[in-house]
Symmetry: C2
Subunit: 309 residues, 2 copies
């Protein structure tokens, strides 16, 4: 083996590079291993909720945080995918898809989540241009517009309710007969239906997303108001997330029932030397700013853990 890192941060999004920046400040030998520089935030066109910045975009914000971290001489990054993490004599051994191995005293999982996709034509093309995956990230831009939420689970219901804060009307397009949120949220949806703010379109799937520069309408697999063509300003796909917590789980890290990594207020997992931050952890309200703060807490906890000896 070559050098031993103080911390290896898996994931090069907002949480990962925020952790790395403080790793640099704390003079920890820090390696970020990043499959996708910037993480999922780079899919977001308009960001108005990073405190202090009235408007930016995901690529710009992610790059600023990355550049900030890479200012510090003890911080480095490689663009590879981590395929395995094992316990080792000095801490942990991390293996990448290019066959490289790196050893570290501590690990920070900042691996994020992947939004489940509809998998229909036009979805990728109009992502950020009418197709969204996060109501709180992007809902504000649909003031007095008509939008659709795809999905019928609790998260979809909550996203639909949240979107009524801005939108004139929210359609919930759901493949099943009846949406199935938690009772309290079902009651809230029903109230919004009464008020004419939410309308449920059951037993229906979107088969294609169409538009020009921006999305203009979707195609349904069933007629609605006499047509399969459904004009709408935006679509929020809320059919679930896949937290990227598999490698953590393999090491014995506790997950909650959604598969999110459970952390303490100091971003510690149940396994000594393993910390976690960002969309992969069990934060009630996952935002860029909360992930960034968790990254900072994670690397500080790593620092304390290393220095305790």
């Amino acid at each position: 083996m070559s050098e031993l890192y103080d911390t290896i941060i898996i994931g090069g999004g907002v949480a990962g590079f925020s952790a790395a920046m403080y790793g640099g400040r704390l003079k920890l030998k820090t390696l970020v291993i990043s499959a996708v520089r910037g993480g999922t935030i780079i899919l977001t066109n308009e960001i108005a909720n990073w405190p202090g910045i009235k408007m930016t975009d995901g690529i710009t914000l992610a790059k600023q945080i990355e550049d900030h971290a890479l200012e510090y001489p003890d911080v480095s990054v490689i663009d590879e995918k981590v395929v395995d993490v094992e316990k080792s004599a000095s801490g942990f051994m991390v293996k990448t898809d290019e066959g490289k191995s790196f050893e570290s005293k501590t690990i920070i999982f900042a691996t994020g989540t992947e939004w489940k996709k509809l998998g229909v034509s036009g979805e990728k093309e109009y992502t950020g241009k009418g197709v969204h995956y996060c109501a709180l990230c992007d809902g504000y831009f649909y003031k007095n517009k008509e939008i659709a939420v795809v999905g019928g689970a609790d998260s979809a219901a909550k996203e639909a309710i949240l979107l009524t804060q801005w939108a004139k009307k929210v359609y919930m397009i759901y493949r099943g007969e009846k949406i199935r949120p938690e009772p309290v949220n079902l009651a809230r949806v029903e109230q919004k239906v009464k008020e004419g703010k939410i309308e449920i379109i059951p037993n229906t799937n979107i088969t294609e997303i169409k538009g020009e520069a921006k999305m203009t309408h979707v195609l349904l697999d069933k007629e609605y108001n006499g047509s399969k063509e459904f004009k709408i300003d935006g679509v929020f796909v809320e059919i679930g997330h896949i937290p990227q917590s598999q490698l953590a789980a393999k090491l014995g890290v506790n997950l909650d029932r959604k598969g999110d990594i459970v952390i303490s207020r100091a971003a510690e997992t149940n396994i000594p030397g393993i910390f976690a931050a960002g969309d992969v952890v069990n934060t009630k309200f996952k935002q860029a700013i909360t992930g960034s703060a968790e990254g900072v807490l994670a690397v500080y906890s790593a620092f304390e853990w290393i220095k305790k000896d």
Copy 2:
């Protein structure tokens, strides 16, 4: 009574205005009551640890977050000091030092802490120009310099250890005979003393801080190396904080033994409808970014609490 607010945020620092910004996004009728716009961060000259900004100053950062919050039509601010908070029929009644009363469904304490001051001549003049109160905020600027930490408690020891990451040498100036950190930190200090990185100057007080544009030396009440004049690049005053949690405590909010407000991972206190964020809460590692994230979580929890009915 006039209008009923959804949330009143007490404190106009980074945490408070971060909460207010999201309050605006969530369309909560939000009032910030601020005794000092910007909070304690405005005392910090050089800020290099806000993710994405390589270098700024406290006044600029605080103002950006405040301006961002005030973009939202549902957010307003008044510059008064809160002198009392009581439970009321609709939630809480907040009273200010100018005799005004405001009623709100929820309260967010973002009241911060006050650093205990030495109370010597020159301290105020050189604050941010050699005199500091936060090692992690400002320590990075003392690479290869000689600095002093004033204090002998656990927090002073931890700050001194942290400062050895950057400084060539750290002097701990302590009024007592023996510093009194927790054993684990005492051992770490002793190790640093062996390495020549920390030197303890016991039974000594600083009586004055002197300099020109920047601090250059301090006066001691006892000779050190044959002189009461002690040349040093910077002084970190670590004689304690006073969390501004008295009003919260009066409402029955749980504090820890330091007087910090105890919050959940979602910034909830033990009292329904009361949330808290920033330097006044029991975060292990209090930074601007962690306070900002706590503010965001606090107002989202307030939003959920209001909407649950």
